[in-house]
């Protein structure tokens, strides 16, 4: 039965309507992952040499024992954010004569096929073979291997369990993340506890009592069954889809009514962002990026590097345009047919986009004003990049929106969700970030930095003032591609 499920999933992948485009993305991903894996394997392989250079030989094994748990804590934290929940679309199988245990067992077992489960093997096993096998013998080495596999399994299922719970209640994720951060802080910042000592306490004793290896493996198996039981208990359609019965009230934004039907469209789009998981994550990410300056501006090495400030300023004032805009009009794919037949003038539709982006960018600029702490010039650069985003970035984003015909499923989460991402989008990100630098760098080279900034600002301002022209241009451009876009959006 499990092989049938696997076959079905393979078919679902190959027969999905945008497989061709998906494969390109997946190949890029696979190369990235292989590269990472190779790097980690290299580190794992030379770990003993690195440690030997820093430590006397008799501290080698204790240090190794100490870092294992630290690694697993960090791994757990990244699992919480990045690991995907295995999903078989169980709905079509539930009413068929297939045992529930088979379905649940499949869901629970395939969870092991995650790249995350390879890291610890690649990272720690070479050291075990090279040092521990040599120093402490076969039994201890086996005990180490079994323990590490046990903790990997435990980590795997604990992360999935928390993610599943968090799917139903978002607070659980925040609480889990806060606990992880607190544990991290109480070791590395406050020095209340020492994870390395705890780790050594266990793995150190493992050398003398190899039987202890059973503890992590038992914990891992217990966690597997907890997951199994949880899934089995919740194998009802209502609960699998994460609908909540909260009362959804109607909202209106009185300010937007000044803008007529354009305002109505913007109101709808704001609701789109706030009421769907993926665009909401894009928005929250944008807010997070507003802190970008804090990472770079205090750095003395970058203090006088204005090209860098242009980059950061552009990012902070325009991140929502880049982040949300690069999937234009895919967000609205599910009701694009409806928009096309209703009495919406496409020029108004575009004006709505401009209004939304203007508002978001203005808000971002206002929020970055406190960066004036790092000098008035920072604020000036932010303002110039704000003009640039208003006049240029917006037009580029909308130009590429006319070339994007991929449907987006609004309800899915954003991290590691490549749906709707393709070569066009990747190209777009570069195209957006490069031009201001290309303009600025020659001026800087000849020593006219102020003039360089002025030119960027002037181009931005010109773009803003000629908006009417761009709207006409984009409208005509859209009608050339309308049917391709519509057909793409209808492809589920």
């Amino acid at each position: 039965m499990i092989s049938t499920f696997l076959k079905h999933e393979l078919k679902a992948f190959w027969r999905s309507k945008n497989t061709g485009k998906n494969i390109a993305v997946r190949i890029v991903m696979a190369i990235l992952i292989l590269y990472l894996l190779a790097s980690v394997a290299y580190i794992g392989f030379v770990l003993d040499d690195i440690l030997k250079q820093k430590l006397p030989h008799n501290e080698l094994v204790p240090f190794f024992c100490g870092i294992i748990l630290v690694y697993f804590l960090a791994e757990f934290f990244s699992r919480l954010q990045l690991q995907e929940l295995p999903t078989l679309r169980v709905q079509p199988y539930l009413q068929l004569p297939i045992k529930r245990n088979t379905i649940v067992g499949y869901l629970a077992l395939t969870a092991l096929f995650s790249v995350f489960n390879l890291w610890p093997i690649v990272l720690f096993f070479p050291f075990i073979f090279k040092v521990i096998l040599h120093d402490a013998g076969l039994v201890t080495a086996l005990a180490f291997i079994v323990s590490i596999l046990g903790i990997t399994i435990l980590n795997n299922y604990l992360a999935l369990y928390i993610k599943r719970k968090a799917n139903l209640n978002g607070w659980i994720f925040l609480i889990a993340a806060a606990v992880m951060i607190l544990i991290g802080l109480s070791d590395f910042k406050w020095h209340i506890i020492s994870i390395r000592n705890i780790s050594y306490l266990f793995f150190g004793h493992l050398i003398t009592y190899p039987v202890l290896a059973l503890v992590p493996i038992l914990l891992g198996v217990a966690m597997y069954f907890l997951n199994f039981a949880y899934l089995k208990k919740n194998l009802y359609l209502e609960e699998l889809s994460t609908k909540k019965d909260k009362y959804k009230s109607s909202t209106e934004y009185p300010i937007l009514s000044y803008f007529g039907s354009t305002g109505d469209l913007v109101a709808n789009e704001i609701k789109l962002v706030l009421r769907n998981k993926r665009p909401r994550s894009a928005l929250i990410m944008s807010l997070f990026f507003l802190l970008y300056g804090l990472f770079f501006y205090p750095n003395p090495a970058l203090r006088n590097n204005e090209a860098f400030k242009i980059f950061v300023g552009m990012f902070m004032t325009g991140i929502f345009i880049i982040n949300y805009g690069q999937f234009m009009f895919s967000w609205q794919a599910s009701h694009f047919d409806g928009l096309m037949v209703s009495k919406v003038n496409f020029a108004d539709f575009l004006r709505g986009k401009y209004l939304l982006f203007t508002a978001s960018s203005t808000l971002a600029f206002l929020l970055t004003i406190p960066y004036v702490y790092f000098g008035w010039r920072v604020l000036l650069i932010h303002f110039i990049m704000y003009l640039w985003n208003m006049g240029v970035t917006v037009n580029i984003v909308l130009y590429f929106a006319n070339r994007n015909a991929k449907r987006i499923d609004l309800s899915k989460g954003a991290s590691f969700n490549w749906e709707g991402v393709g070569a066009t989008q990747l190209m777009l990100s570069f195209l957006l970030l490069l031009p201001p630098l290309i303009i600025y760098i020659p001026f800087k080279y000849f020593g006219y930095t102020d003039l360089g900034l002025a030119v960027i600002g002037a181009i931005g301002l010109t773009g803003t003032l000629t908006r009417g022209f761009w709207i006409k241009f984009l409208e005509a451009d859209f009608y050339k591609r309308k049917f391709t876009i519509l057909e793409g959006f209808r492809n589920k």
Partner: protein, 250 residues
Amino acid sequence: MIQIKELKKVYSGVIVVNIPQLEIKKGESVGLVGNNGAGKTTLFRMILDLIRPEAGEVLSNNEPVAGHEHWKNYTASYLDEGFLIDYLTPEEYFYFIGGLHQQTRAHVDDFLASYADFFNGEILKRGKYIRDLSKGNQTKVGIASCMLQNPELLMLDEPFANIDPTTQFRLKNMIKEANCTGVTTLVSSHDLNHITDVCDRILLMEKGKIIKDIATSSSTLAELEAYFAIGDAFEPSASAELKIDPEENH
């Protein structure tokens, strides 16, 4: 109202719509019937300028729909859930559609009040987004939003499919009433009873072609049933069915 000339649509080598000539006059009520794959929805989509025909054109009020937007002012349509903005509450959606036609909120509220029976208390003020409604209730939202637009041309694709019997009867009356006030209606359905009841003219489609164009009369239903019924073409299978009957009735 609508003129179709030499309209043709091809999907991967198969002609799915091929209509040399068709005219629908103002005020007519037209029903579209045909088995799955006959090309009904594709025809609807081409009339609404949602897919590009391989050849030919559709004129609405003597103006091609392709490249023009004037028809949107007087055309209301509901083909599937893709026409609804699913993350809005029904109220928000109605206000949005009303706003597009310069209707005040009070006007929309009045309109909605008159649809209380049709909605059966399951649409308004239930605290649900449209995506959380059942398919039948989504259809109701779509139909009501069409009516809200006071259209001159009303196009519904299988509106009877997901709604309960009571609503089906209400909907039939709504379409007839609209037609009495001069609205041109174009409705597709698999329910031959309903469609012959509602429409004055029936178009029967088969493999992309309109093979029958009949003015509804007392004999139309029988005529359509004769077309769709299986087994009539060759008698032996009908008699075979009769032979099996007694066995099944053990």
